[in-house]
């Protein structure tokens, strides 16, 4: 064996390793130094919101306005998103399951809930509509899907993952007088156990029905991912409401969370600019908006999705309010100005001298009450 040849090869390999190392080092240096001293904000959010691409647009605009902030989205089903926040691994929530949000507030995990936007869930299915549910009310439609399922003519695909969409699905089955535990044992009822787009694609392959938020459905339909059609659309029981909730910095798990940043982000979401972003975001070519901005709805009494605004405001209160409020008094913390007005909050209010004065005043009022 030629010893010197091996040494040469060893040397060249060593050089390759060193070059790799230097490249990695340069990359590390570049990536660490590129965003100079930015504060990180981790938002735990739902797959349906993330997959529409809206959050990328939101991040860009928000960071343009606040260059010292770096927003990261962790996209999971709402149930998992809430658990991530409970462990203190996210700074705030952006989710859509009021029935799961209330325990989060009550458990002392979250404060300052703000409803930011809404749209509707839709039941989508193959255009032949084997269960014949077109035009039916949601609960009649669900009953019809089940009987068609038992006959072997229809299939239902469920998210099956504790997400906001799944939470809604369970409540709709219950409203139709059907027991989800029983349904899960039946062969026409499939559980995807994954995100919204994956579930829609599974339903498309199986020629089944599924429940989706309208934004995810339109996006996938326009991308030619799926050719399922909307069979049951907007109504009160199909309402979908998105809320932002900050972690409670007084919780032992959450003392290190970025409360200031969360509040800055929530204030941005409900500001004129943030609300306009929701209003302008379209996922379809015809420019139909994907979301309705909630604060704009209150302010202008106009629903871009085309529903009766007065009725819609009532629906949202009935569906997504707790004790008659989007965030009852005991779940508010250093939220001055956030709930004082029903109109969008001006962003510049954040941590100005006026804000500090207001904070003191509110603290006084609260202590005198106590």
């Amino acid at each position: 064996m030629n010893r010197s040849a091996i040494t040469k090869l060893q040397a060249s390999l060593l050089i390759i390793v060193i070059v790799c190392g230097i490249a990695a080092g340069v990359y590390a240096y570049y990536s660490m130094s590129a965003p100079p001293a930015r504060t990180r904000l981790i938002v735990s959010t739902t797959t349906s919101l993330y997959e529409t691409g809206f959050l990328d647009a939101l991040k860009t605009k928000f960071e343009l306005k606040y260059p010292n902030m770096n927003v990261s989205f962790i996209s999971q089903g709402t149930g998992l998103a809430i658990q991530t926040a409970m462990r203190g691994d996210a700074d705030m929530l952006l989710v859509h399951a009021p029935s799961q949000e209330l325990p989060f507030l009550k458990g002392g995990y979250g404060v300052n809930r703000k409803i930011v936007a809404y749209n509707f869930f839709v039941i989508v299915g193959p255009s032949e509509d084997p269960a014949g549910i077109k035009g039916k009310s949601p609960s009649d439609a669900f009953k019809a899907i089940r009987s068609a399922g038992l006959n072997g003519t229809a299939i239902w695909v469920s998210r099956g993952d504790n997400s906001g969409t799944y939470t809604k699905e369970v409540s709709l089955w219950r409203a139709a007088g059907l027991d989800i535990k029983q349904l899960r044992t039946e062969s026409w009822y499939l559980e995807a156990g994954s995100g919204m787009t994956a579930t829609l694609k599974l339903a498309n392959e199986k020629r089944g029905y599924t429940l989706s938020d309208s934004a995810s459905y339109i996006l996938n339909f326009n991308n030619h991912n799926i050719d399922l059609v909307e069979v049951v659309g907007a109504s009160k029981s199909m309402l979908n409401v998105y809320s932002a909730i900050a972690d409670d910095p007084r919780n032992a798990n959450m003392t290190k969370t970025n409360f200031e940043g969360s509040m800055q982000f929530i204030r941005y979401l409900v500001s004129d600019e943030g609300q306009q972003l929701f209003a302008d975001y379209a996922v379809s070519q015809d420019g139909k908006p994907a979301f309705g901005p909630y604060l704009k709805l209150l302010q202008t009494k106009n629903d871009p999705l085309g529903n009766d605004p007065t009725q819609l405001i009532q629906w949202i209160s009935d569906y997504a309010f707790f004790e008659g409020s989007e965030c009852p008094q005991q779940f508010r913390y250093q939220a001055e100005g956030l709930y004082s007005t029903q109109a969008p909050v001006p962003v510049l209010l954040v941590s100005t001298a006026a804000g500090v004065e207001q904070r003191k005043a509110i603290a006084c009022i609260q202590s005198s009450r106590a």
Binding site: M1, A5, I6, L9, Q10, L13, V17, C20, G21, A23, A24, Y27, A28, S31, I42, E51, D56, S72, F73, I74, S75, R87, G88, D89, S194, G195, T197, A198, K201, N220, N223, H224, N225, N253, M254, K256, T257
Partner: protein, 230 residues
């Protein structure tokens, strides 16, 4: 058939035009896997040398353990490290979860048994007579080790390469510890998983080409180098 061909053409286009997103994802992937593997080497290679060339109590059990852990499911390891690194966990103080460093730690833990087992095998396969010969020629412990390591050099390289490939191509750890955050912890495997779910097939295909290309060209290069050396 049609959308697949369309996807492939778009993918090639993305790669040839040097799409920024594609390349930043590939660069991050390369970075975390290289650093993770090198980090694992710093303790795995000495461990392998000790296991192969020294005698001590419990050596067999230890070797068996490392062998058993080669196939550890990445999601299981991801889960345990997630619980450790979470802000509510024992190492929460360092705030590592959802950073590239968390993926590096996870991958280095993942590949440790691979490097230890493969490197131990390579060192043990060196002819025992060589050690005896070195000893009789008056070599010290250290000098004997040097001889054996030199003989087993390509075996060690292959062990490290196998480790790198495993780190580079795994999904569970990167997803659970990195969180697949765009521009921060999105690596090739998590991006492919997301973009396929999201329906951006062209981007998925482009990323998978890069993943496959890197893994395969590295293997071929090492094999060629090994052949020319023999």
């Amino acid at each position: 058939m049609h959308p697949i061909i369309e996807g492939i053409i778009q993918a090639i286009n993305l790669i040839l035009t040097g799409d920024r997103e594609v390349f930043s994802i590939a660069a991050l992937s390369l970075y975390v896997s290289v650093v993770g593997t090198l980090l694992a080497c710093t303790w795995s290679i000495p461990a392998a040398i000790a296991l192969a060339l020294r005698n001590f109590h419990g050596k067999r059990i230890l070797k068996g353990l490392f062998n058993a852990f080669i196939g550890i499911p990445t999601v299981a390891l991801g889960l345990y490290l997630y619980l450790l690194l979470s802000r509510a966990g024992p190492l929460g103080y360092f705030q590592l979860l959802y950073t590239p460093n968390a993926i590096i730690i996870g991958q280095s833990a993942l590949v440790t048994p691979i490097i230890v087992s493969f490197a131990t095998g390579a060192l043990e396969s060196v002819d025992p007579d060589l050690r005896t010969l070195a000893r009789t020629l008056g070599a010290s412990d250290r000098q004997t080790y040097n001889v054996v390591i030199k003989e087993a050099f390509w075996g060690l390289v292959l062990a490290i390469l196998a480790a790198f490939n495993r780190a580079f191509a795994e999904l569970g750890v990167a997803m659970m510890l990195g969180g697949n955050i765009r521009g921060l912890t999105r690596v090739l495997t998590t991006a492919i998983s997301l973009e396929t779910a999201r329906g951006d097939i062209a981007l998925s295909i482009a990323l998978s080409f890069i993943l496959l290309g890197m893994v395969m060209s590295l293997s071929i290069a090492i094999n060629l180098a090994r052949k020319t050396s023999q």
